[in-house]
Symmetry: C2
Subunit: 206 residues, 2 copies
Amino acid sequence: MARRVPRGQETRARILTTALGLFARRGYGSVSIEEIAHEAGVTKGAVYHWFADKDDIGRELQHDLYERLSLASMHTFVPGDDVVSNITRAFDTYLSLLGDLGEARFFLRDAWVIPALDQAGRHDHEDAVDMVRRVLAAAIDRGELVTLDADALARVLLGVFAEATLHVLRTGHRRAAEDVVRHLLESLRATPARPARAAMRRGAVR
Amino acid sequence: MARRVPRGQETRARILTTALGLFARRGYGSVSIEEIAHEAGVTKGAVYHWFADKDDIGRELQHDLYERLSLASMHTFVPGDDVVSNITRAFDTYLSLLGDLGEARFFLRDAWVIPALDQAGRHDHEDAVDMVRRVLAAAIDRGELVTLDADALARVLLGVFAEATLHVLRTGHRRAAEDVVRHLLESLRATPARPARAAMRRGAVR
């Protein structure tokens, strides 16, 4: 029977896991390729066989974390449920996963301020903007959300999520940032919490 | 009568203005100190007398633009007016000034993705967070805004403003981003637009 993971891929995965641990514990800037190789128990040559340089490792780790987080968040979308509940749940899932990442989350926080990684992260960001814009545009068309420009709203909301996430990573507490995000998301509903009764009442008074 | 601006300061100002024009027209990365000196009609030595390197010029320009924009925005605060109106007006003023900056606004957009400048911009950002947090905390204490953590809210709102500004710079139109910002800010009022009547009505029905 063939090995499910080729030996080379195992080495590559070990280099990535080792690098992530080192980056998270000691900070991206102060870790060298030599240390990664030593800690992973491979030669420097083996590292350079798989990666062009340290930034290449960093970009791979960042993209992998991004994919895991965004895929898991998207999987919480319940078809038929309203968009505000879906987006709120997706963001909650994102924060929970971030918490579960352990030390890796410190690398993610740092990655945003490492130029070489930030640049690569922009492509992921544009993918995220595209996805959120499509979800919002459909909900605005259905009359589920207030009528705002879907592109502007998608970018602003991703700014909200990014700042809220940084607040959670910085303070170590979720509640304050989550409350802000929930409040802003709730404000986007075209109809308030109890739409039918409120509308009737308003009609009756007029 | 003494000259109001010493000759050296005039040279320094001319270098800055020239550099800003070049950065805005051609992009920060492709402009050299030599070109700045040539275009400003001074020697390279004169440029290096005032600035350590190109990033030093960039940081000075960025900080100067930040100060002009934030001071002007703060001056639109009307004491006694509600905080949502004040913040909305401050953001409108910020966008108007950005439009009036002409080509300089392109430098500002680029500066956010130039590592050396972005780093320096973080100090300005923390100042802005401090200011907004204080304004929000006072309004929450007065019962004027919904009860949310002032620190989390300040950071998230600055993320909103930054993304909205980038949207305006990217699309060349203010309306879409402004509508999003206004809507989110309005949602922060502790009492909705016509609080008294709505509350009475609700009370009467129950």
